[in-house]
Amino acid sequence: MFAKVLVANRGEIAVRINQTLRTMGITPVAVYSEPDAGAPHVNTAEQSVALPGSTAEDTYLNIARLVQAARDSGADAIHPGYGFLSENPAFARACQDAGMSFIGPTPESMAALGDKLRSKDIAIAAGVPTVPSAPACQPGDRAAAEFAERWGFPLMVKAAAGGGGRGMRLVNRRQDLDGDMELASREAQAAFGDGRVFLERYIANPRHVEMQVLADAHGHTIHLGERECSVQRRHQKIIEETPSPALTPELRERMGDAAVALARQAGYVNAGTVEFLLDPRSGDFYFLEMNARLQVEHPVTEAVLGLDMVEWQLRIASGEPLTLRQDDIAPRGHAVECRIYAEDPYRDFVPSTGTLLSWRPSSGPGLRLDSGVVEGQQVSIYYDPMLAKLIAWASSRELSLRRMEVALSQFVALGVITNIPLLRAVMQHAQFRSGEYDTGFLEWNPAVTRPAISDETRTMARALAAWASEQQSVGMDSRFRGNDGKESVNPWQSAGQRRLP
């Protein structure tokens, strides 16, 4: 096992990795940019290296500096977390070249899976369903007509060399097919110098369901069940749960087998996640991509399986065999995760910055908090606005959603605007509770992105605001952290006299 691991990340995931490293008796080394001096991911480490600069490019994305920091601190491995350089094959290779282990897959399989076309080829080779498509074809081709015949409308036209939405069109009606293919082809020619287009089936309102995979360096690969991640804003997940309400045991087994087959085909080692689009009507699923790293939402898997994913990442990276068999994987109860963002859910999710004046997370049975911030900390403009993840576990889906809702209602956060009220509204939402939701959930339910405050609550808020404002006027809000040599006064103040029953 490693003796010292540099965590090339920040925020909640770096804190979380530090926790497992220390639990395993491994020394964590933190790196930090200037705005992160003194942040929790530094003070939960045992050693730290400053990265000059503020932007991600100068610091957490700076391969040369990170490798140098690892070398200087005597680390024998690097954990990339998620985001930043976690899926950058050049970083993985630079770590290896510097004689350190990279905690993740090989640069080769990472590179293959990072390329959309190559990863689709891997899936096809592994017999994993991908979204049906017709090979590169011309407007008016027999192949195009046959594909349209087989799959119906709407259809997607995509540029073979495409990306970023250019050369891509949604075709709603048969009579538009040739015209739209022409248009897409011209766009693709203009954008990429390559006018080839192909047709792909359009999956309307899919669910996003992913399978967690673990593979060791000795050829043993298993899956750890699924996560349902269909509640998204701007194509970013905000709520994840396991088990998925959409999966039958039979479908779970088929998706799990597909994920394992794909990982094997890619020569994958360590923890990875195979993302699928699931058509909830037909039960068909299609390979979307494989994330060659630890996933943000891994804690829900940990909660129902009773294991530590980072512990397994470290064991596998150090060459230990994966001693878990597929039969050992027996989920217990249900877990849900909410991502707490510094953003305004009522103003198009615009990020919010400021000083966290209060940060008092709920705690108790079935709750876990992975937090990257502490009270008093500055939430800066420089990085992702995710502050923390709250995970609730209970014996059933109904109870875990309610446990989460209660915990959100008790989570005091002041100083920046957070998305907590939105998360809570989703937990309370009848459609979400029913389990019958898809990636269009927020779109179909715009009411949850509008404040819903009862007249009674509003009156109470106004009264309390008036009261708090008066408190300040009469100086009751004075700092209780006294340094005047006197004992602190009793910090509880009662409004008016004590009530008698």
């Binding site: 615009v350 990020p351 209060s358 209602s409 100083g415 509003r458 009264a463 404002s469 409004a495 008016g496």
Partner: protein, 183 residues
């Protein structure tokens, strides 16, 4: 029995008209009279027992015994009130900027809505802009922000340039005065 009164204004999640309040303390409870706000001329009253804490947390109980957890902090001139999981922002009515009509959205300036970096300034001094026209692109927390003009007018001054870091509320552009500033 002591009485206080004053005027507050809701800023978030709803921006509302100012409301007047009167507080009467008696029998261990506080009775709040709330006038105006949601609909001008409306009047509501609520009686609460409040237990509070110098660290900015408290609990209040209405006459039915229902119990609510709250917390508060001042963010500059704004009173941020957390109540049972939701954020409400208020200002003292008297602390609003003088010379600016309450509720008016118009301004001579285009301000940065949050801290970040200027990506691109899309207009130059002397340009005519329409209301809601995109004038500046900013980047903040890995997001692109589109800054639009709050009214039609002529750009009097460009206060920033691409690449510059700006704080929240910092002026990006100044529009030439036009009439009395009404929209």
């Amino acid at each position: 029995m002591t009485t206080n009164h004053g005027e507050m204004r809701e800023m978030y999640p709803h921006v509302g008209e100012p409301y007047r309040y009167r507080t009467d303390a008696a029998e261990g409870s506080l009775t709040f009279q709330i006038d105006g706000g949601v609909a001008e001329g409306s009047h509501t009253a609520i009686t609460l027992d409040i237990e509070s804490h110098e660290s900015g947390e408290g609990v209040c109980r209405d006459v039915s015994g229902r119990t609510h957890h709250f917390a508060w902090a001042w963010v500059g001139p704004e009173l941020h009130l957390w109540l049972d999981g939701a954020l409400h922002v208020f200002q003292r009515a008297e602390s609003r900027r003088r010379g600016r009509a309450a509720g008016a959205e118009s301004s001579e300036d285009v301000l940065a809505p949050m801290p970040g970096a200027v990506l691109e300034v899309l207009v130059a001094e002397g340009d005519r802009v329409e209301r809601n026209q995109t004038v500046v692109l900013m980047e903040s927390m890995k997001m692109e922000l589109v800054i639009t003009a709050s009214r039609s007018g002529v750009v009097h001054r460009v206060a920033v340039e691409a690449g510059q870091q700006v704080d929240r509320g910092m002026r990006l552009l100044e529009l030439a005065p036009e009439g009395d500033g009404g929209d």
